[in-house]
């Protein structure tokens, strides 16, 4: 938009002046341009983060923000696949010792089952927190902003009102403080149940804190003892676990184990701060690459570079094709690359997509690729080698990054249900018949646009224990086609045969002729393409499907009470270990059996499976573990408590000027690697957003064409009035 447009006609000029002061800026820009000359990254989110407290935040919407702010002892290598842990704040991988009942180290190669295991973690020295008023000190060394009454802090409405900022050095105390915060019931840490089973003394601390706390009061957790977590020196601490828990190392890369300084906790417990939304849950304080400078969840969240961030460098090794894809262009450079990241809230994916296409967002989405069925054909077409970008997208040089998050989508049968549950041969056949008819490949093609992979077992690809090809095939549902070297779904005739053997020829009860009606418990609307497609799958066998819909909390309640028959469900991995999937079939995780909110939603109960699980859980990856997993999968395929549907994949899109966009799949702490080219972005935004003035001008003329005759008619009438009205 150049100024010469103004001169065309005075009328048009006036309109334009009204609409936009003459500037070099596209008219439809949703955010004011950044004039600070900083390197800004623009992105968006649709799911508003609800919690930014590191011991509490669990969802990926929250992780997308706070994983950039908090640093964890370990992290995942950005580029390497399969996923690989590496030290982050820690100097090296934790030292793990196996101990007997008396906390004495077990001799090397001992067969005795360890009673305890101890993780000792050493952190890098000299790491500093972001500048923050919580660390501000007066000249006498006393904290400046720790108040005892509401009045003292009444002049401070938001964080910007605090003038003095300080910092502090990260010590092992802060990590210990985090674990104590996790034990504190007031913080509602999602992991408290799981970790209490492992960390020695956590349950006791929880009880003690519960008894000691009086309403909203700040408890100085430093005064409390957490038996299993000990400080060795300023940079070393150890965690004592009951038994062994090899998966524990993955949790050390999770935000729940990020350090929280006691000063932060104290600062946000200043009287009256909670009423001003000044809480740790909304205003993180971390040692990570970024710090939060504005948090208006309904509008935008702004992160800025943490000036005190430790020395951290872009990895120089990656996968073979990472060089070609440009992921290694910045190898060895100091992180982070961008100065500021602005995440705007979008209420609908439609406008999010429009703004990405207009060049106002650097990526199509953060936690979801936001390529829906309605935008898929705009983005992708099917080429000879599979998906490729459409010419329109390719012209814009848009980049595509595929992400396969370790996840499984399944359709659970409630094993307690009298119709579909049970372990008899007939019931197994019924479940196998339904599984054959349920054509998940078609679902992937229609509803996921081919972005997904047919599941054969609970274990998704990319994890240890997953088997590809013929060995990985579910033999009850598929046949191996030697010619194409691919699994082929068994025929519908076979399914019908199985159904007849199960006692329901053509979907009718063999004795009474009553049609077999199955009920799907469903937490969404039972109309629309997906439910229609569900009905069709069972209709192939003559089975009728009815939906029992409910809202989400009640759906969960039904699951807990075992009040379901069939239900679509899924699991997204917390860490890349098969244990995190196979435990979903562990009978002790069944809601009814454990009388808790268990994760075994189909109430599957097989003693052999449980026994194998216990062993598999405790040993390191290797041939023995593989053999155990193979047997477990075989059992799960035979009993078929689930229809193994698919492992979801997504392709994220980024605009040309955005670099290092590889998606990780597990870790969300990847903003520090992202790089953008602001000049290129500005140029493209101008080129892509030329306003179309024709309708505007036409509209103005149209209005004038309407008003002028009216005015003329009015004047005429005005003269007539006197004569006619008398």
């Amino acid at each position: 938009m150049k100024c010469r447009n103004l001169g065309r006609s005075s009328l048009l000029g006036a309109t334009l002046l009204l609409l936009s002061a003459c500037s070099d800026d596209p008219w439809n820009r949703p955010l004011p341009p950044d004039e600070s000359g900083q390197k800004v990254y623009y992105s968006s989110y649709t799911g508003q983060p609800k919690h930014l407290d590191p011991v509490r935040a669990y969802s990926s919407d929250e992780g997308a923000i706070i994983d950039q702010i908090y640093d964890t002892p370990l992290q995942y290598h950005f580029l390497k696949r399969p996923y690989e842990l590496e030290p982050s704040v820690a100097t090296s991988m934790p030292l793990v010792e196996m101990l007997d009942e008396n906390l004495q180290p077990l001799p090397e190669g001992s067969d005795a089952k360890p009673a305890f295991s101890r993780y000792t973690i050493t952190i890098k020295s000299g790491i500093k927190y972001q500048p923050h008023p919580a660390f501000a000190k007066a000249d006498n060394g006393q904290p400046l902003y720790f108040f005892n009454t509401v009045e003292q802090g009444s002049t401070y409405k938001e964080l910007k009102d605090f003038e003095v900022h300080g910092t502090d050095v990260l010590t092992s105390d802060d990590f210990i403080y985090t674990l104590k915060r996790m034990s504190d019931p007031a913080n509602k840490a999602p992991l408290i149940g799981l970790m209490s089973g492992y960390i020695v003394g956590m349950t006791e601390l929880t009880e003690k804190l519960k008894a000691d706390r009086k309403e909203d009061q700040w408890l100085d957790l430093r005064q409390y003892e957490l038996e299993g977590v000990q400080k060795v020196d300023d940079h070393t601490y150890s965690i004592l676990l009951k038994g062994t828990y090899p998966q524990f190392k993955y949790w050390l890369a999770f935000r729940f184990f990020a350090p929280v300084p006691w000063e932060a906790d104290r600062f946000y417990h200043n009287p009256g701060f909670k009423d001003k939304n000044l809480t740790l849950d909304w205003n993180p304080i971390g040692t990570g690459p970024f710090m939060m400078t504005s948090n208006k969840p309904k509008r935008e969240i702004i992160l800025e570079r943490n000036p005190n961030y430790r020395e951290d460098f872009y990895p120089s090794e990656g996968m073979p094709d990472d060089v070609e894809r440009g992921y290694l262009a910045d190898a060895g450079k100091r992180l982070p690359f961008i100065d500021k990241a602005i995440f705007s809230n979008e209420s609908s994916s439609t406008s999010q997509w429009s703004k990405f296409m207009q060049g106002y967002y650097d990526r199509s989405g953060e936690t979801s690729a936001n390529v829906t069925t309605s935008t898929f054909d705009q983005a992708f077409s099917m080429g000879p080698d599979g998906l490729e970008l459409t010419p329109a997208m390719a012209n814009k040089n848009i980049k595509a990054d595929e992400e396969l998050r370790p996840s499984i989508n399944y359709l659970g049968f409630n094993m307690m249900d009298p119709v579909v549950g049970g372990y008899t041969e007939e019931k197994r056949k019924l479940r196998h018949a339904i599984s054959i008819a349920w054509d998940s490949e078609e679902l992937i093609q229609i509803f996921l646009n081919g972005m997904g992979q047919q599941a054969h077992s609970p274990v998704p690809p990319g994890l240890f224990g997953y088997r590809d090809g013929k060995e990985g095939m579910n033999p009850y549902i598929f046949n191996w086609n030697e010619a194409t070297q691919a699994a082929e779904r068994k025929s519908l005739e076979e399914a019908k045969q199985l159904l007849a053997e199960a006692g329901y020829p053509n979907g009718r009860d063999k004795d009474t002729g009553k049609p077999l009606i199955l009920y799907m418990d469903y937490a969404a609307s039972d109309s629309g393409p997906v439910p229609d497609w569900y009905r069709q799958q069972l209709k192939k066998l003559g089975i009728q499907l009815e939906f029992r819909t409910s809202d989400y909390p009640r759906f969960k309640e039904k699951m807990r009470q075992g009040n379901t028959q069939i239900f679509p469900w899924g699991w997204l991995a917390d860490y890349p270990d098969p244990e995190n999937f196979l435990f979903l079939l562990d009978s002790r995780q069944g809601s009814l059996k454990c009388e808790c909110d268990g994760s075994n939603s189909s109430n599957y109960d097989n003693p052999r499976f449980d026994a194998l699980y216990d062993r598999m859980k405790e040993i390191e990856n290797g041939p023995e573990r593989q053999a155990l997993i193979d047997e477990m999968i075989a059992i799960a395929q035979k009993d078929s408590p689930w229809i193994y549907r698919y492992h979801r994949g997504e392709v994220y899109l980024s605009n040309e000027w955005t670099n290092n966009t590889k998606k990780h799949g597990i870790s969300m702490a990847t903003l520090k690697y992202v790089n953008v080219d602001p000049e290129q972005r500005a140029a493209q935004q101008m080129a892509w957003n030329k306003p179309n003035l024709v309708p505007l001008v036409a509209g103005v003329f149209g209005l004038i064409a309407l008003v002028i005759p009216a005015l003329r008619a009015f004047r005429r009438r005005q003269r007539l009035t006197i004569e006619t009205d008398s």
Binding site: S348, T350, W353, S354, T372, T373, S374, T375, D377, Q378, S381, M382, P384, G386, Q445, I446, N449, G450, T484, P505, N506, R508, K510, D511, T512, G513, K514, P515, I517, S525, D526, S527, G528, P529, D532, Q544, E546, F547, R548, T549, S550, D551, R554
Partner: protein, 468 residues
């Protein structure tokens, strides 16, 4: 063996029949009340009145046809021992039968109006195993064509055939009606002054269009298909029932409450008045949408917890719909109640009512003889005026997610989906247009008609008219 059907009476059907019965009773009562008959004559003496009335009547007839529900029997299976009969779990209506196979001809996903191919590219696995992306041919469009090139000619020809069918029906009806009028004129000796010709022309257009759409709609997807591959024309036509019902039932439900409360407050005054005023002030001070949303969610949960009452999905949707009408009625009765209360207050102070009191006539008689008849115009006007408002409100409620159950066809749901459809590239416009035009026609007719009704019945405007 011929298959039996089982009539199904949904909750809303019952109310529709009630509504029809009320309209018939109302028409009969006109005979007794010459004053009201004159007012109605005034409404129908204009061409606008006639035309809009015929249009509204067509909508109501379609809604009525769509309210006659039944379930088909399932075919027995070979080897079945018992003689017990099972019925299909889909509910059909007479309208479905009249529309032929339109409702069952579903495609996989979007297709453009009158198109032979799907709108969306799909991954097609060729025989050699390679995957290409192409627009697959539709399963239910133009199957009778020998080659796709004949499409345009065929569409024109079939349109003519369909329109001719509809016009033939219209001609029969018009001739019958003409004879009826002639007979009436002969009997009374008064020439009818009403603009019947406008009504006939409108009827011919409506029936011709319907004939065309139904005939062509069974061969093509005249308005395309939606995301689930359902015929848009079919969905739009099915939406008529929902719209007509939400427009009428809401007021129908609100009316008894408003009448009882309003009249007793205005007539008995004192503490009755206080209580009624308290109730309606409290109800109307709650933001309407929140009240509706809370109630709808509550009812949804009740349905989910009591699945035993609902055998099939449509019954569930219907119960929800009924609840929605009920809740809308609850939120909208306050206005009418306030009007009635004020008017009753005024009337009950008039001389003749006081005189009736003095003669010792009972409350019931006074209310029936003097008060109620003098309020009928307010009720009448509110009924017609609220109709279009409710039809429009449904779209907004659907957007918020507390509207009609998505299993039931409704224009609100269609418009709601259109937002995402317009964002597609290239955009999908037909779903929006289908719902939009049917909705627009109905609401426009209703608005124009209600203007006439108000002009005829409102004492204020009548005085105006007399002065002019």
């Amino acid at each position: 063996m011929d298959l039996a059907i089982k009539p199904v009476l949904l909750g809303t059907d019952l109310l529709v029949y009630l509504l029809i019965a009320m309209i018939v009773m109302f028409l009969l009562s006109l005979k007794k009340n010459p004053q009201n008959r004159d007012r109605w004559r005034q409404v129908f003496s204009t061409r606008t009145g006639m035309v809009t009335f015929v249009i509204i009547l067509s909508y109501i007839s379609i809604a009525l046809l769509d309210s006659l529900h039944f379930r088909k029997q399932m075919e027995p299976v070979a080897g079945q021992e018992t003689t017990e009969v099972y019925y299909s779990n889909t509910i059909n209506s007479v309208l479905d039968v009249m529309l032929g196979e339109m409702g069952e001809n579903t495609e996989r996903t979007y297709s453009a109006p009158l198109s032979l191919k799907s709108w969306v590219n799909e991954n097609v696995i060729a025989e050699d195993g390679s995957i290409t992306r192409a627009q697959p041919a539709l399963v239910h469009a133009g199957q009778h064509l020998e080659s796709p090139d004949d499409k345009v000619a065929d569409i024109i020809w079939q349109s003519l055939v369909g329109a001719a069918k509809g016009l033939a029906l219209a001609a029969v009806l018009i001739v019958l009606h003409k004879q009826m009028i002639a007979r009436g004129e002969r009997a009374t000796g008064i020439r009818s002054t009403l603009p019947w010709r406008s009504a006939w022309i409108t009827l011919a257009i409506v029936l011709g269009l319907l004939g065309l759409l139904i005939h062509l709609g069974n061969l093509y997807h005249v308005l395309g298909t939606d995301q689930a591959g359902n015929d848009t024309l079919y969905d739009s036509l099915k939406g008529i029932r929902t719209a007509v019902l939400i427009g009428t039932l809401t007021t129908l439900i609100a009316m008894p409450i408003a009448i009882v409360f309003g009249i007793s407050a205005g007539y008995f005054k004192g503490w009755v008045d206080d209580v009624v005023q308290y109730i309606y002030t409290t109800l109307s001070s709650i933001p309407g949408l929140l009240l509706i949303a809370a109630s709808v969610l509550m009812f949804q949960v009740w349905i989910d917890n009591n699945p035993q009452f609902f055998e099939v999905a449509l019954e569930k949707a219907d119960a929800k719909f009924l609840a929605l009408c009920f809740i809308l009625g609850i939120t909208s009765w306050a206005t009418l109640c306030r009007l009635l209360r004020a008017e009753t207050l005024k009337i009950s102070q008039l001389d003749y009512v006081e005189a009736a009191h003095a003669f010792g006539i009972g409350h019931a008689q006074i209310l029936k003889r003097h008060i109620l008849p003098n309020l009928s115009h307010i009720i009448m006007i509110t009924f017609v005026l609220d109709f279009s408002g409710m039809v429009l409100a449904e779209a907004v409620l659907s957007y918020i997610g507390v509207g009609i159950d998505p299993t039931m066809a409704s224009w609100g749901n269609m418009i709601n989906l259109a937002r995402a459809e317009l964002a597609r590239e290239p955009m999908v416009w037909w779903n929006l247009s289908g719902a939009f035009f049917l909705m627009f026609t109905l609401v426009l007719s209703a608005n124009l008609f209600s203007d006439l009704v108000r002009d005829a019945f409102d004492p204020k405007t009548r005085v105006e008219a007399a002065k002019a």
